[in-house]
Amino acid sequence: MSSKESCRIELRTAIRQLSDRCLYSASKWAAEQLVGIEQDPAKFTPSNTRFQRGSSSIHRRFRTNEITSTPPTGVAYVSTPVMEEDEAIHGDFYLLAKSYFDCREYRRAAHVLRDQTGKKSVFLRCYSLYLAGEKRKEEEMIELEGPLGKSDAVNRELVSLERELATLCKNNTIDPFGLYLYGLVLKEKGNENLARKVLVESVNSYPWNWSAWSELQSLCTTVDILNGLNLSNHWMKEFFLASIYQELRMHNESLSKYENLQGMFTFSNYIQAQIAKARYSLREFEQVEVIFEDLLRNDPYRLEDMDTYSNVLYTKECFSALSYLAHRVIMTDKYRPESCCIIGNYYSLKGQHEKSVVYFRRALKLNKNYLSAWTLMGHEYVEMKNTPAAVDAYRRAVDINPRDYRAWYGLGQAYEMMGMPHYALHYFRKSVFFQPIDSRLWIAMAQCYESEQLHMLEEAIKCYKRAANCNDTEAIALHRLAILHRELDQPEEAAFYYKKDLERMEAEEREGPNIVEALMFLATHYKTQKKFEEAEVYCTRLLDYTGPERETAKSLLRGMRIAQSGFPSMDVEHFHP
């Protein structure tokens, strides 16, 4: 990886170039990473950094050095390119257009630039036209039918934009930003293959545009597509890979990439949040909570990825923390899908499912492709026993992203609730296919097999075994395994699992009827096996408990003592009945 300093230089230039082209979210992202780079402790003084960030003279100085800033390691062979600047007179128009753009007057901005031919101007004109079309599309969507129903609103600028950009591309007079926009337009038009090609070209010649990478990511839905991409080496590629691995549910790969990147971008909130999300997918909730708490301390007004945090709080049933978070996000920005989702989660935790549905609906109105809101809404409908509505919501989630294991799981659950375990199995199978490390899914599937209607115990055992292997926090699997083996008349296996379950309960210091049950079984089992010593141990442990088991244990002990003392007579008895 290139040195921190060169990274910093590249990013600084990129931020300036990106925001000059009004690619604000990309520049926001780049800036976050820039600040995330660890400062050299020797040079680090607070005033120094403040100066560096604020001063334009520094920028100017760096601009003159741009060409020499190629990293010496040679890994990233794309250096920060010098973008050609439009001439001064056109530059004035550009400034006007940019200010219009900044005031969200997109059409006006495009109009100002109508006769400009510089690459930068052309890009900004096309970009503002695109955004104007998008804005109108959004408005029309609301005006026509609402985002949940039928909507045939389209971006009316796409056709002309595509034509213009295609010509530019053909004449080879297009810069990486133009390529990015072209890719965007192509994707919207449904021409995914070409879009992918164009975007790859864009990121290869200008890797610092994170928006281009994200668009590319949304076009790579399988590993095969990803492997088919011809990407040049650059540290930005690492970010891309980490992100897409997460999307493709290769969580461990993703996590290692992020941790690698964290070596350089030590203070990057973005990386921290992504790590949290990856860990969330790996169900390491404790760590996730810590990370998010840390993140919120540094960046208290952050909304991105906070819905994941709320999910963690929900799973851990932290009422007050969740309500605090909900309060905070609503003060920050009420009309963000994440905010609505967090509030929905809060109401759900409180058991007020109707209200919760209202907020999820609002989140979906804000972004109808908001995957987790559909799924969570499905959960709420399940709670409200409105299974058809739940099925519908889950199905929409699945149709948006077929890899969403939660929605598949929800579908399975809904059908199981309706007494259709066989039908539900298909959905559970889908769900475990996408998330094989979640014990709950395996347990749900096992319960399905175990159900009275199917009674396929062998299969249930297989599922429970998988569940037991993937960190079953609720410890259902071991217990069920023991019981199933007992029912199938396989005492050896049953004893094995009872023992394991017992060890586990001891380790977690749990109490309850399961312990008694396990002890009882083990005692009788070892007695029939004539392993009296073990049996005695379990019997004595049983004596600590009250209830009928205690009496049974006593009689067992008595019986064993008699058997041990009168071994021969017992033997005779055994053979001549």
């Binding site: 408005e139 129903g149 409105n386 299974t387 509505a389 929409r396 007494g419």
Partner: protein
């Protein structure tokens, strides 16, 4: 919306409705004279009125007509007024240039309506009654307009602009269209955006055309879809409504899957499509898919469906159609995916049409999903899975007391059990969790099937599901045909008299299917889809133009009657036809098994001639197979292969079609007769491969293949191997309760032992086969078993010749009346042999008694090219002539004998095209 079905008829104001409003305004302009200004006669005025009624009736459509389509229709309606009307509409529309114009326009409209107090009016004054159809329409439009937000008004305005612009841009193309008078020209398309769409459609069209040329398909108009497809003809209002146009319409409607694309095509000239119409269209397509199976174009239809889905995302039935499409193209994963998606979205509420629409429970009808899933697994050949799913379906439908679904599920289960060979159902059906059969696991599959069938029939009868009753009767007949009733435990000779299948019962069951047709005749239209209803309006549209009959007495009729009158050429729904047709198929099969060739042939012919239109492609193929087999057995191979050629042209020869199987069978038999053993083995192997394809093992085919394998081995004189194969085959038949087949296999075993010179061993086999035949009333097979028995006796020594002859003579009526060429020839030869080996018979006294049958045998075998038997016949002839002392004739016979033996030993390779053809194909 999640879980909430969106109200279908959210009445929104659209440019099309605005122009209808303009027309209504013209029609009912407040004037004092009886015929308002532009109209010259009352009938002209009325005609516009009728047209407007039709338009308003179908205002809840998915796609509205473009302005130029409207103008085209106005040309039809308006007659002399044509120009005035179109000009008026277009100018009025284009005058709407600001939101305020729209406000004024709708205010004007309000004046057209008579107020509530203006109930008393003069006779000759035209004022729209606010409660009339047109008045209601206007009021709804005005209300919808008043409810619009300002943004909505802006949208309406832009839409009107687009609406007008499109009409203008396609005006020139309209002229062009008039010149060559073709509805299908695409050159005239002017808009860029439609270009690629058109290219696609063009391609599809070409593809369909090519297919049509390749396979001369029967036109597929069924009951409910009929209205729809005829609708297409009628609504393409052309300049001259002559029959020539209708023909074209019919033709175009048989590219049914391209049809919808034309909707989107602005110049396609298609009228309104209501929601119901789309439903109807989808149903038609569903029938078409079933009928044409895999010859239906997958991708073209998929494209149409995708487009439809984009236009109407709430129309979930599209998913179902996609499922069907994938199902018939053997795409398991997509089929499964689409099926589940469909039921997830629709909750089964629009799944099947037999479900009463009353939404008695809000739970949804997921049991139907299970039923469909079960049938899908069955189709893909996962019988065990299918059975599991169907069991669940039974349970869930019991739970939700959906008796209809339960009855259908039981029927599906019966079908599954009878079609697919289960050696045992224990663990699936017989498990204590099975809902129906609580009797336990002790029952055999057949008994379970019987119980199920009875239960299903009773249920269907009590629910008055006529089609299901008929289908159940057919299934029952099938069961009775191949299974003896009651104990089913032993087949010893002692009880053989009691344990028999009963042809009368079979016949009774088959007959009860006919009641269906009479019941449907009197019931009439109750089964038609609602989609047909709204189309009736448009259908009638043409009538007032052609003649004035309807327009004059329209007031006295309600709109339902003309609908019935005009749109129902045949009142019998296609599915009923299909059922009745399949009862004929069953009869043909039954007679085939019982051994009456002429009756089997007659029934097959009835089916082929009367029910060809309604039948699915697989049923039609089956009938052809039966007829061709008949030809092969009775007329020889030449004719059979000629017929096969035509059949192959008719049905696309897909991977596992019946036609292909039959072709292999014919080839195998001919190869055996000619002595091409290598070829026979090759063909036999191919059959074996077909039997165990990816989609489940076809027990019937598997038995067939190994039977033929044994035959080939026998012909190659590898007796022990042949016996081994036949033996294992018998074991399999026994295991899977294929008793009819067992009889055949036993007979084959007897033959093998006879040919290997072990007549004593063969005898018990022949006798066992005979007893099977008696049990199942397999008369023809019994005759041939008797023949084999006679041959066996004969080969035991000349002192048994008398016994053999008596046996043979007993079987003769059956053999000569119903047997094929080979069987007759064998019987003749055996008869001759009996006489010859009888020591008390003297040839010189009565030569014709021997020579006559031999000559006949030789004649009949000629068509079959059966060298082995021919050689035998000529050999015997030569001996007879020798004894008679006629050396010339003896030499002649001996020469023929030599020829046949030579060609048997050295099969000369004069291959005909058909044979090499298959080998290439295979």
């Amino acid at each position: 919306m999640a879980g909430v079905v969106k109200a279908p008829g959210a009445f929104a104001i659209t440019p099309h409705k605005v122009s209808v409003c303009i027309l209504v305004n013209i029609y009912a302009s407040p004037s004092q004279i009886s015929v308002p200004f532009p109209f010259s006669s009352v009938s002209q005025h009325n005609r516009l009125g009728l047209y407007l009624l039709a338009l308003t009736k179908s205002c809840d459509d998915i796609l509205e007509p473009k302005l130029d389509q409207l103008i085209n229709q106005l040309r039809e309606i308006g007659g002399l007024l044509d120009h005035w009307l179109t000009d008026h509409v277009t100018s009025r529309l284009s005058s709407l240039s600001s939101p305020d114009d729209l406000f004024n326009f709708f205010n004007e409209l309000r004046e057209t309506l008579g107020g509530p107090d203006s109930g008393v009016m003069e006779d000759d004054q035209v004022i729209l009654d606010p409660n009339s159809n047109l008045g209601m329409f206007l009021r709804r439009c005005i209300l919808a307009f008043n409810l619009l937000t300002f943004e909505g008004i802006c949208h309406l305005l832009t839409n009107i602009g687009i609406y007008c612009k499109e009409a203008i841009s396609s005006c020139s193309s309209y002229e062009l269209r008039r010149v060559d008078d073709s509805g299908n020209d695409f050159e005239s398309l002017s808009e860029d955006e439609n270009m690629d769409l058109n290219l696609v459609f063009k391609k599809i069209n070409e593809e369909m055309e090519a297919r049509k040329r390749a396979t001369e398909q029967v036109s597929f108009h069924l009951h409910l879809p009929k209205e729809l497809s005829t609708l297409v003809e009628d609504i393409e209002v052309s300049a001259d409504p002559k029959s020539e146009h209708n023909d074209k319409g019919r033709e175009s409607s048989s590219y049914a899957s391209g049809e919808l694309l034309r909707d989107v095509d602005p110049n396609g000239g298609v009228f309104l499509r209501t929601n119901w119409q789309i439903q109807g269209y989808l149903m038609e397509q569903a029938d078409a898919i079933e009928k044409h199976g895999s010859s239906f174009t997958l991708n073209a239809f998929e494209l149409t469906l995708r487009q439809l889905q984009k236009l109407a995302p709430e129309l979930h039935r599209v998913h179902f159609l996609r499922y069907l499409n994938n199902l018939y193209h053997d795409d398991y994963f997509s089929a499964l995916e689409n099926l589940l998606r469909y039921f997830d979205y629709s909750a089964g509420t629009e799944g099947f049409d037999f479900v009463p629409p009353a939404g008695c429970n809000s739970f949804g009808r997921y049991e139907i999903a299970l039923l469909c899933l079960g049938m899908m697994h069955f189709h893909f050949g996962h019988p065990k899975k299918a059975l599991e799913v169907l069991t669940e379906a039974v349970r869930v439908s019991q739970q939700h007391s959906n008796d209809t679904c339960l009855a259908y599920t039981l029927a599906a289960m019966c079908n599954l059990l009878s079609e697919i060979g289960f050696s045992t159902t224990s663990g699936i059906l017989g498990s204590p969790f099975s809902p129906m059969i609580s009797v336990g696991t002790s029952l055999s599959v057949q008994q379970q099937l019987f119980v199920l069938l009875k239960g299903s029939l009773k249920r269907a009868e009590s629910l008055k599901l006529k089609q299901l009753v008929a289908a159940n009767h057919l299934a029952m007949a099938k069961f009775d045909l191949t299974h003896v009733q009651r104990p089913l435990l032993s087949f010893g000779p002692k009880t053989s008299m009691k344990l028999r299948t009963c042809p009368i019962i079979v016949c009774k069951e088959l007959r009860s299917g006919y009641h269906l047709i009479s019941e449907f005749c009197c019931e009439g239209s109750t089964m038609t889809a609602d989609g047909a209803f709204s189309t009736a309006w448009l259908k009638n549209l043409q009538k007032p133009m052609g003649s004035l009959v309807l327009s004059q007495d329209n007031g006295s009729r309600n709109n339902y009657n003309p609908f019935l009158f005009f749109t129902q050429p045949s009142s019998i729904p296609g599915s009923v036809m299909q059922l009745v047709g399949s009862s004929y198929l069953h009869r043909a099969t039954a007679w085939e098994i019982y051994g009456s060739a002429p009756l089997a042939r007659a029934n097959a012919l009835v089916y082929a001639t009367c029910f060809a239109d309604a039948s699915s492609s697989s049923d039609a193929a089956l009938v052809h197979v039966k007829l061709i087999q008949h030809l092969a057995v009775f007329k020889g191979y030449k004719e059979a292969f000629a017929a096969l050629k035509t059949a192959e042209e008719k049905f696309l020869c897909v991977s596992k079609s019946r036609i292909l199987i039959m072709k292999l069978q014919l080839l195998h038999e001919r190869a055996l007769h000619r002595g091409h053993l290598k070829l026979a083995q090759q063909v036999c192997d191919e059959l074996g491969v077909l039997a165990s394809s990816v989609t489940a093992v076809d027990m019937e085919l598997k038995t067939e293949a190994s039977l033929r394998h044994a035959r080939t081995l026998l012909a190659a004189k590898q007796f022990s191997q042949a016996a081994a194969v036949a033996h294992s085959l018998f074991c399999m038949c026994y295991k899977f309760n294929l008793q009819v087949e067992s009889a055949t296999v036993l007979l084959l075993l007897a033959e093998i032992h006879m040919k290997s010179g072990n007549a004593v061993v063969g005898l018990p086999y022949a006798l066992a086969s005979l007893s099977y035949c008696q049990t199942f009333n397999l008369d023809l097979l019994r005759a041939s078993a008797t023949l084999t028995l006679a041959e066996l006796w004969l080969s035991l020594g000349s002192n048994h010749a008398k016994t053999a002859l008596t046996l043979l003579h007993g079987a003769f009526p059956m053999i000569l009346g119903h047997g094929g060429l080979e069987l007759c020839a064998r019987a003749y030869i055996t008869e001759a042999k009996c006489y010859l080996s009888d020591p008390s018979f003297s040839v010189s006294k009565n030569p014709e008694l021997v020579l006559d049958p031999l000559r006949q045998a030789a004649d009949e075998l000629q068509a079959l090219e059966h060298h082995e038997l021919m050689a035998e016949a000529f050999y015997l002839m030569a001996i007879v002539f020798d004894k008679l002392g006629q050396p010339e004739q003896r030499e002649e016979a001996a020469c023929s004998f030599k020829n046949h033996v030579m060609s048997l030993d050295h099969p000369h390779d004069v291959e005909d095209p058909i044979q090499s053809d298959t080998l290439l194909n295979a």
